[in-house]
């Protein structure tokens, strides 16, 4: 054909999962080149960190990857605790694991629902996923008062103990969700059209994935059995028994399947944690304002990959430098390579399977 057409999958588009601007050069319908433009959600969070105390910064970490707030809070608080050698009570450790894993479940539900919607299963899987998500969101509402940005995990513990009846509610939810997972498998995973749309699309090989520092379900779908919770356990994760689902080919279907199986594993962890949670007071007793010196880097396994906080403290009440290593930022870097040579429909499918959140890419 010769002449290339430029299509702007612009900042406002039904399926770019936030404000991402993709400049696609297409030849007919085949993508020849792709240039992502970021920065539409850049709020300068790293600069803000230098002007807030350690405790004041926790709500800002909620708003990074707003679908996995508990995990963001957890990573930041662990970084501060490592920097200043603050101990965390046992009950708080267990509560942190429970909320982090439940948050992983609801984050993966959103990813699954929106991925199916991108492929054209218009709204039905999304509604089912959000109906399950609603149960957990209401639980979080009763625990910490918020539905999306929780600000629950604090430095040295958590902000409040769980109310009575939470344990039974979680047990009921686990039984209910296990039935729903069977439903998702029947409706989506082995559906002929779904397979035809997502198998062998956007194959990410192991070497490319490691070179691009891809982490999370994307890396595991490419066949690398790596999970920070198992290989460098933090908190009390070494006390629980769970598997790491791994994909075979690294295509979009594998990324979807890994997420679905991770929901099951997260439910296992929560079940074990609820069964063995110790008594005590999980509320953090650290001063609101404190000083410290040193440097620390902590990374945790977020639903989207490895989130890392690199904190530098020079004796002030604010951190001197707070660098946020966000998983979606590194994961998005491989997108131009993955969609070269695919149709526009497949480009949308690959972008959906990457499961990015612009909040943590742009910070």
């Amino acid at each position: 054909m010769g002449e290339l057409m430029t299509i702007n999958m612009g900042p406002q588009h039904p399926s770019t999962h936030g404000v991402l601007y993709l400049e696609l050069k297409v030849d007919g319908e085949i993508v020849v080149d792709c240039k992502p433009h970021l920065g539409y959600l850049h709020r300068g969070i790293e600069k803000i960190a230098e002007n807030r105390t350690y405790t004041q910064f926790i709500p800002y970490t909620d708003r990074l990857d707003y679908l996995a707030s508990m995990n963001n809070n957890l990573c930041y608080c662990m970084a501060v605790e490592k920097l200043l050698n603050i101990a965390v009570p046992d009950r708080a450790q267990y509560l942190r694991v429970i909320v982090a894993e439940l948050n992983r479940v609801i984050s993966h539900l959103v990813a699954i629902g929106t991925f199916a919607q991108d492929l054209g299963a218009y709204a039905t899987p999304l509604f089912y996923a959000f109906r399950d998500r609603e149960k957990i969101v209401e639980l979080f509402d009763s625990i910490c008062g918020n539905r999306l940005t929780y600000n629950y995990v604090r430095i040295g513990g958590v902000s409040a103990d769980i109310p009575a009846g939470t344990e039974q509610y979680i047990k009921d939810f686990i039984a209910y969700e296990r039935k729903q997972l069977i439903d998702y498998n029947e409706l989506l995973t082995y559906n002929v059209i779904f397979l035809a749309r997502s198998k062998k699309i956007g194959i990410l090989s192991k070497e490319v994935a490691l070179n691009y520092s891809i982490t999370g379900p994307m890396l595991r779908a490419s066949g690398v059995k790596w999970d920070v919770r198992k290989d460098e356990p933090y908190g009390v994760y070494n006390k629980f028994d769970f598997d790491i689902p791994v994909g075979l080919n690294g295509d979009s279907w594998d990324r979807f399947k890994v997420k679905l199986e991770e929901i099951e594993q997260s439910l296992r962890i929560v079940e074990q944690a609820i069964g063995s949670i110790p008594e005590g007071n999980p509320v953090s007793k650290v001063n609101r304002v404190f000083r410290g010196t040193g440097e620390a880097y902590v990374r945790t396994e977020n639903p989207r990959g490895e989130l890392g906080f690199y904190l530098v403290a020079e004796g002030g009440v604010n951190p001197y430098r707070c660098k946020i290593r966000s998983p979606s930022f590194s994961n998005l870097g491989v997108l131009p390579e993955l969609i070269r040579g695919l149709n526009i429909s497949d480009a949308v499918c690959v972008l959906g399977s990457l499961d990015i959140v612009m909040g943590e890419i742009d910070r």
Binding site: L38, G39, H42, G44, E46, K47, N51, V208, L210, N211, Y212, S213, W226, D231, E232, G294, E295, Y297, R299, E306, G308, Y310, V312, Y320, R321, K323, R325, F329, S330, L332, G333, V334, D362, R363
Partner: protein, 154 residues
């Protein structure tokens, strides 16, 4: 694996580079960054460049590289200092493709130029902006004119 083991290996391979071992990581001079990086990637299997960032130390810029080696289960913090009057350093994006965007981000926020980078332009701030936000001398109060988007009139 420990910091000291890495330090020894690099010292043995490059005896005439002045490497310092600090509690928070290894400090190497800017000029030998690329060859040490090649050595780390190929010989000691640091195949994962986890993070590239910078810290503004007021009289100089500190570049921090967080490299991870999966076989050794070790995260190495490699630091190098860049003088304010010559804010350039060699790029490592030829070795680790993850450094591509991370270096662009460091350039965008601090102004450190990476030589031989395939596509060094701003990543989060508008392309035609001239200031570097994360420097300590960035003016935060008062009116800063908003950068214009190219298609707007006036």
């Amino acid at each position: 694996m420990q910091n000291s083991e890495c330090f020894q290996k690099i010292k043995n391979k490059f005896p005439d580079i002045s490497i310092e071992e600090q509690p928070n990581g290894l400090v190497i001079p800017k000029a030998s960054l690329l060859e040490v990086a090649v050595f780390l990637k190929n010989e000691i299997s640091f195949e994962n460049c986890h993070c590239v960032t910078a810290v503004d130390r007021k009289d100089k810029m500190e570049l921090v590289y967080l490299l991870y080696s999966t076989p050794n289960h070790f995260m190495l913090t490699l630091k190098t200092f860049v003088a304010l009057d010559d804010l350039t350093v060699e790029t490592v994006s030829g070795l680790w493709r993850s450094a591509d965007w991370l270096e662009r981000e460091t350039f965008d926020l601090f102004g450190i130029k990476f030589l031989n980078h395939p596509d060094l332009r701003r990543i989060m701030n508008p392309d035609n902006w001239t200031d570097f936000p994360l420097r300590k001398d960035f003016k935060m109060e008062g009116f800063i004119p908003r950068p214009q988007s190219p298609g707007l009139k006036g």
